[in-house]
Amino acid sequence: MKALCWEGKHHIAVKHVHDPHILNPHDAIIKVTSSAICGSDLHLYNGVIPTMEKGDIMGHETMGIVVETGPLVRDVKVGDRIVIPFDIGCGHCQHCEDQEFSACDNTNPNFMIPEKLYGYSGSGLFGYSHMYGGYAGGQAEYIRVPFVDTNHLLVPESLTDDQVLFLSDIFPTGYMAAENCHIKRGDTVAVWGAGPVGLLAMKSAFLLGAGRVIAIDHIKTRLDKARSFGCETINFEEDDAITDQLRFLTGGRGPDSCIDAVGLEAHGHTVLNAIDTVKQKVKIGTDRPDALRQAIQACKKAGTVSIPGVYGGFLDKFPFGAAFGKGLTLKMGQTHTQRYMKPLLERIEKGEIDPSFVISHRIRIDDGPEAYKQFNENKDDFTKVVLKFH
């Protein structure tokens, strides 16, 4: 089959590889129909997430048709059309029982690596480095899904791939980010990053009762998208005093909650970000947390900062004093996707939201390498790329 493989920093290639087969009794093989490229994939593309190996198959936002099931699979059969969550749950450990699927105890074969780095290991993830299990991803014609009984959402024929594909990651991620804010009716929520995750967090904030949502980015087309459904916007390139702006816009109090949908590769021309950028380039720093610094600084007293943006290592000049001094609540982590798939599918079916509004490009796998380059460098035109197969 054809697959998009990581060949090194800024190098994705289409390769012919073996088809996957069943390795464990709860596995299934899926013939992929649609698979998206995520902002998280750009962190791999840019080489800032460790433990990638040349030849790793990319992709964690995947859906398709079941073509084979292992002997112990119960809830899925050949021919089913399913969306696959990006985090792999076993369905049996305490964390899975508690619906904390991305904290699953049992699905990361390389649990020793995060145990050394983080103390304990989270779940395995598709296509997201060996630290997270080294599972082959879904930017390929076929994918093997472990514990498919836990890791699938059956989707009705009445909905298109584009409408349901993002239940694999970014819609649950945006939604969980907003839910973590404990929004009260009429609250003001500020969101750093108007990429697909940020945009879906903004929509979700409105769904959960926010009165105002303020989007912060520097990409005009993305800010336009945010404005199109009722957000106010701040372009950080035109306005550098973001904290002052937000204070002014919120009657001197600050937003009730702040969402960092940027993660470890923040852009911007602040002094601290310039230092972070140099440190990351010469590998004496791991993360560029400038959006997070701003979110903490801007948030109201006793407010919440919710962090769906991915971080990997040690954060420099992290304003912990501000977080403590204002009594902030910090919420973060990989999304427990399985927890949200069904209820969010219902919202799509009812017409409350159609997440396909984020898609800018639909391409074939052969155009994948160029799409990575464009999505990384040309965010004005490329908001979300979906690979179409079969």
Binding site: L23, C93, Q94
Partner: protein
């Protein structure tokens, strides 16, 4: 529970967490959702030890050839021993106790005459061993990616 195993100096132990004499072995502990009876049955099945050791990502000379002791799950069944009587005699002891809220705590100890490991320390290896045992116990399989496709083994277009 088999209290004779617990040194008297540590009699005021935390409930649910057996305190072992750390002088003479290597330890790891794990909490599993399985019931005590489940675990006893699991440990009585020699096939399970083979599965835990298969492709274990560390050298395990000490553990190879482990066999279930005939009088395993002695007394009330809360202590189980896997023994190696080959060229490197020793045993793994599993102590089972109900977890504070739910499930079972397994405390594992490795006792060998001569411990030699080619990679990692013995405690790391015990942890790896127990984590894999937990995977198999809770889910019926051990997570793997061995045999999956990758661009490292590119095949020619024509084979497809």
């Amino acid at each position: 529970m088999d209290t004779s195993y617990i040194p008297s100096s540590q009699s005021r132990q935390t409930p649910g967490v057996p305190q072992l004499d750390r002088e003479h072995g290597y330890f790891a502990s794990a909490t599993v959702t399985n019931s005590l009876e489940d675990i006893v049955a699991f440990c009585k099945d020699q096939e399970n030890v083979e599965k835990v050791l298969k492709d274990i990502p560390a050298k395990v000379e000490n553990f190879l050839g482990l066999k279930l002791e005939t009088d395993a799950s002695e007394k009330d069944g809360h202590r189980i021993i896997w023994k190696n009587s080959g060229k490197n005699p020793g045993k793994l002891i599993f102590l089972l106790s109900p977890a504070m809220n739910k499930g079972t705590v397994i405390t594992a100890e490795a006792v060998f005459d001569k411990i030699h490991f080619r990679e990692d320390g013995p405690s790391t290896l015990m942890n790896i061993f127990l984590k894999r045992m937990k995977q198999l116990m809770e889910t019926g399989e051990i997570a793997t990616t061995k045999g999956q496709p990758s661009g490292r083994e590119e095949i020619s277009q024509h084979k497809h």
